[in-house]
């Protein structure tokens, strides 16, 4: 490799931020001071390059410290990691949270996505634009952006302020009022205190964010405020939320924590996998793949090392269950990852959490630090001879990084583009090694499975949908939040549990499964909430999104927002999705404003949709037309006569996110 660098040195703040992640530079070869001795040896090769996976953390460090990534800062990171600047630039410009042009230290993300749109985000946005100028504008103190779903849908409309500094700070406003947004966009950033970062959890757990909110922000309600059922008897997955102190390992243990790991260590890896197979657990991240088979598949691979990845990227619009679990019961995620690592012979687990979840991040950082102190992570866990540790990786604003192979590229310090499958992760995943990847909710299900036994767990729910399931109820309902129900309850029961619509009338439509899912009508509430039931009804449960829309909601506007989401979040790799999502948005824009010829545009949507579903590389493109199609065909939006399916269309109305 023939690297060419700039001559511009980084500022002290930039250098400190990078060195805090990578350690000080060793020599002139990797960006340190050039000494005479440097001329007598050259540093390079694999040793210099094998820290590429620290690229994303290093970019975060600079962005967190200064608010943007200057050419000199990027250059310094590249020298430190022996990464070509053109590649690093490609990585930095892939993520919405990073800026490569100078901007203020404080960035306010105002959610305009579907659940927030159903709760008045449009007005809020328009008002803010009037007072504070257009999004992305060039204020000197603050800049604000329209954001895709922030995973705070139960408290819609939501806004999140992130402020770079040492330490960086954040503030959440949800539900956000105009006054909240004025405070967030009006308050001056806290003085930049210089390099000494103050960890919220003391020295052992190096915390990323300050514990006090950024100026202009208010304290957030506790996680259990998002769980209307909190404290009710009979809960399985949510039973500790609101009951335990999420910062206290003792509290967690006093409430049954780490009993499952002990049982796992007694059963041995094969025994754990047997229980998970017997439980019938399938993935909760959207694809519904049997978890036991995945674990067995990885455990059997001769190639080593094995890795475990916990997918906490949760960016599907309308989804917030993983956030509530991580904020309300963070130790359960750590324990479940340890069990999964044990069963699949992984010694290292990565927890990839979306960048917009600062509170969950802080709580997980604390949980990992506490678990290490008590030998619940690290070498020879509980004297079992099993070594396992967890590293947190923060996403930086890219829905696609929740896709299971894009997440690997993101962790490895590459652009978060999905890989083509085969090979599947169990054979060649993270760093090209056998990898188990599971969603947060999937993993925490393993704890009750071990405690009650696989067969008993399989007794909950129906047929092939076993166990309890979390649903993210949002939109126009009285009590939005995360609900836990055994599989098999109907949509009506769930909507009733959430208090129904504010005026008590049946909803106009319900979006099941998020932007990648599909709509059902308000008169179809008897759909059983199981994988089979949803499939039979031509819908999908996806990530458990139940977004209720009454007739106050502007449906065409929601469709345009969904189309905008896919256009913005497409990685850009393949033509059907990269260009198809643009054409879909354009056509919907015309349809919703009454411009253009309706028939032509509907035909165009179907043509583009069929190709996206059939010819895209990954689940994003393959599902980008699902919700729009169901709104046209099922809800009759745009007054479409039920159209003939496109010739030999791939039949299932809603392809799941992926198959294997």
């Amino acid at each position: 490799m023939d690297l060419r660098f700039l001559d511009a040195p980084p500022t002290d703040a930039e250098r400190d931020a990078v060195d805090a992640v990578l350690g000080p530079a060793e020599s002139g070869w990797d960006g340190g001071r050039r000494e005479a001795a440097d001329l007598r040896y050259a540093r390079g090769g694999h040793a210099a390059r094998d820290r590429r996976d620290l690229l994303l953390p290093a970019l975060h460090a600079v962005n967190d410290r200064v608010g943007w990534i200057s050419p000199a800062a990027l250059d310094y990171i590249c020298r430190r990691l022996t990464v070509p600047p053109a590649e690093a630039y490609g990585v930095a410009t892939f993520y919405a949270m990073f800026a490569v042009h100078e901007r203020p230290r404080r960035v306010v993300h105002v959610c305009t996505d579907i659940a927030c749109a159903a709760r008045g985000a449009d007005r809020l946005r328009a008002d803010l634009a009037e007072r504070a100028g257009p999004p992305g504008g060039t204020g000197s103190e603050v800049v604000w952006h329209e954001s895709p779903c922030l995973g705070l849908c139960e408290r819609a409309p939501a806004a999140l302020a992130l402020e770079a500094g040492a330490p960086p700070r954040y503030a959440v406003a949800a539900p956000a009022t105009a006054a909240d947004l004025d405070r967030l966009t009006g308050a001056a950033a806290a003085p930049d205190e210089g390099p000494a970062g103050t960890g919220a959890h003391g020295s052992a757990g190096a915390a990323t964010f300050a514990s006090e909110p950024a100026a202009g922000g208010r304290a957030e309600p506790p996680a259990h405020a998002s769980v209307p059922q909190a404290g009710e008897p009979g809960l399985v997955l949510l039973r500790r939320i609101g009951v335990v102190d999420p910062e206290s390992l003792d509290d967690y243990r006093a409430n049954g924590g780490y009993a499952a790991l002990r049982r796992a260590l007694r059963l041995g890896p094969a025994g754990v996998i047997r229980e998970v197979l017997d439980s019938g657990l399938v993935g909760r991240g959207g694809a519904a793949f049997p978890t036991g088979r995945k674990w067995e598949g990885t455990a059997r691979q001769p190639d080593t090392p094995h890795y475990l990845v916990c997918n906490a990227d949760e960016s599907e619009p309308g989804t917030f269950k993983d956030r509530v679990v991580m904020e309300g019961d963070p130790f359960s995620v750590i324990e479940a990852m340890t069990v999964a690592g044990y069963a699949t012979a992984a010694r290292k687990g990565y927890l990839y959490i979306r960048g917009e979840y600062p509170r969950a991040l802080s709580l997980l950082e604390n949980a990992i630090a506490r678990a290490r102190e008590r030998n619940l992570l690290g070498r020879d866990i509980l004297g079992s001879g099993f070594d396992f540790d967890i590293e947190i990786r923060r996403g930086a604003g890219a829905y696609i990084c929740g896709e299971e192979t894009a997440i690997f590229n993101s962790i490895e310090g590459r652009r978060g583009e999905p890989r083509s499958k085969p090979p599947f992760p169990i054979e060649r995943g993270l760093f090209g090694k056998p990898t188990t990847i599971n969603n947060v909710e999937t993993l925490v299900n393993v704890l009750p499975i071990l405690l009650m036994g696989g067969p008993a767990y399989a007794g909950i729910g129906t047929g092939r949908s076993t166990g309890p399931k979390l649903f993210c109820v949002s939109g126009t309902v009285r009590r939005p939040g995360v609900y836990e129900l055994p599989f098999g309850a109907t949509l009506r029961e769930l909507v009733t549990l959430a208090g129904g619509t504010p005026d008590g009338r049946p909803p106009r439509a319900v979006l099941l499964g998020g932007a990648a899912g599909g709509f059902v009508r308000g008169d179809e509430l008897d759909i059983p909430l199981t994988f089979e039931g949803a499939r039979e009804a031509g819908a999908t449960l996806g990530s458990g999104v139940v977004l209720v829309l009454d007739d106050t909601v502007d449906l065409p506007a929601i469709l345009v927002r969904i189309a905008a989401f896919f256009r913005d979040e497409s990685c850009g790799q393949c033509v059907p999705c990269r260009v198809g999502t643009v054409r879909q948005e354009e056509a919907l824009h015309r349809l919703s404003t009454g411009a253009g010829a309706r028939r032509t545009d509907l035909e165009l949507l179907r043509d583009v949709g069929a190709a996206m579903r059939d010819a895209s590389i990954c689940g994003l493109g393959q599902t980008a037309w699902n919700a729009v199609e169901s709104a046209i065909d099922r809800l009759g939006v745009f007054g479409a006569e039920p159209a003939a399916a496109p010739a030999e269309a791939p039949s299932p109305a809603h392809a799941a996110k992926e198959d294997r």
């Binding site: 070509p84 053109a86 919405a96 990685c571 033509v575 260009v579 948005e585 059939d614 895209s616 010739a647």
Partner: protein
């Protein structure tokens, strides 16, 4: 010294059917290889004969019986008993859409096979509406990932923008770029190991770029031209070709191609000189050369001026 004989283990043969015809191909072959063995034509754009398939363009998709989605022929390996259809309604539909989507967003005027394929699949790129105005130079490069720009329903967005002419040797006309990744792979880890260019941005705003969009002379580029060699659309072209096209004098019918050996050093790379009116107008290199695979260095690629310095005494 005797010639070394490569000792690859004998490959097992696999039976597959292509459009109902049985063929036997070595294990590990791609569907595209199998199609080639039956003489079945499959359009390809991002596939490169000297590169690892990126399977990004999806124009080569085929239908594999039993699979939920279509498969890229250029990269999917055959499996025993696989039944492949290359001309089903589903295949034709997706290929047509890929061509329409590309045709409506990219300038394909110098993509050699585009007109033929458009015709074959009945693609009508103009159905998405009139093309939007090209972006100003640098505008697309400044786009921020995820920042939404509301569409203008009246015009179809494109990637068109003025060409980047920032050096004497070659031009980057990204209004013609289909994002096939081939130039990046050739410049970086697959051949040149220079990594002067990468993919930046995301989604429709993704683009090929140097770091911070600096001009090529300020980048790591060594002007090997190996990116030009693999570019399927003419987005990358010799300055000479670019200027002749602009003047309207570029005429491939009147060009001859002569393959000879580069005289600069002892490696002995093959160079193919494209000559029009007794002037070298561009240089390529045979892809089937077992040593260089179409790659050259700046001298072989661009160092031909002395050949045509005429004496004026």
């Amino acid at each position: 010294m005797s010639t070394p004989v490569p000792l690859a283990p004998p490959r097992r043969l696999v039976d597959v059917t292509i459009d109902g015809r049985e063929v036997r191909v070595p294990e590990g072959a791609t569907i595209l290889d199998a199609c080639a063995s039956t003489g079945t034509d499959v359009p390809t754009l991002c596939y490169g004969d000297t590169l690892t398939p990126k399977n990004a363009c999806r124009v080569c998709v085929v239908e594999v019986d039993g699979a939920r989605t279509l498969a890229p022929a250029c990269s999917r390996a055959v499996e025993p008993g696989m039944a492949v259809r290359t001309d089903s309604e589903r295949v034709r539909h997706s290929r047509r859409m890929v061509l329409e989507l590309l045709g409506s967003s990219v300038d394909l005027s110098t993509t050699p096979e585009a007109p033929e394929w458009m015709e074959r699949y009945g693609a009508r790129p103009e159905r998405f509406g009139p093309r939007a105005e090209p972006a100003a130079l640098g505008e697309r490069d400044a786009r921020h990932a995820g920042a939404h720009e509301p569409p203008d329903g009246a015009a179809a967005a494109t990637v068109e923008q003025p060409p980047k002419v920032d050096n004497d040797l070659y031009v980057r006309d990204y209004g013609k770029c289909i994002m096939c990744y081939k130039c990046v792979d050739a410049c970086g880890e697959q051949w040149q190991n220079t990594f002067a260019i990468g993919v930046a941005g995301r989604g429709f705003d993704a683009r090929i770029s140097t770091e911070h969009d600096v001009a090529l002379p300020d980048s790591a580029c060594v002007y090997c031209g190996n990116c030009i060699e693999v570019c399927p659309t003419g987005a990358l072209s010799f300055r000479s070709e670019f200027e002749m096209r602009a003047e309207g004098t570029w005429d491939e019918e009147r060009q001859t191609q002569t393959t000879t050996i580069c005289t600069y050093c002892g490696v002995g790379c093959n160079v193919t000189l494209h000559v029009q009116e007794n002037e070298i107008v561009k240089v390529t290199s045979p892809h089937d050369n077992p040593v260089t695979h179409g790659n050259l260095c700046i001298k072989g690629r661009f160092g031909f001026q002395h050949v045509q310095q005429r004496r004026h005494d």
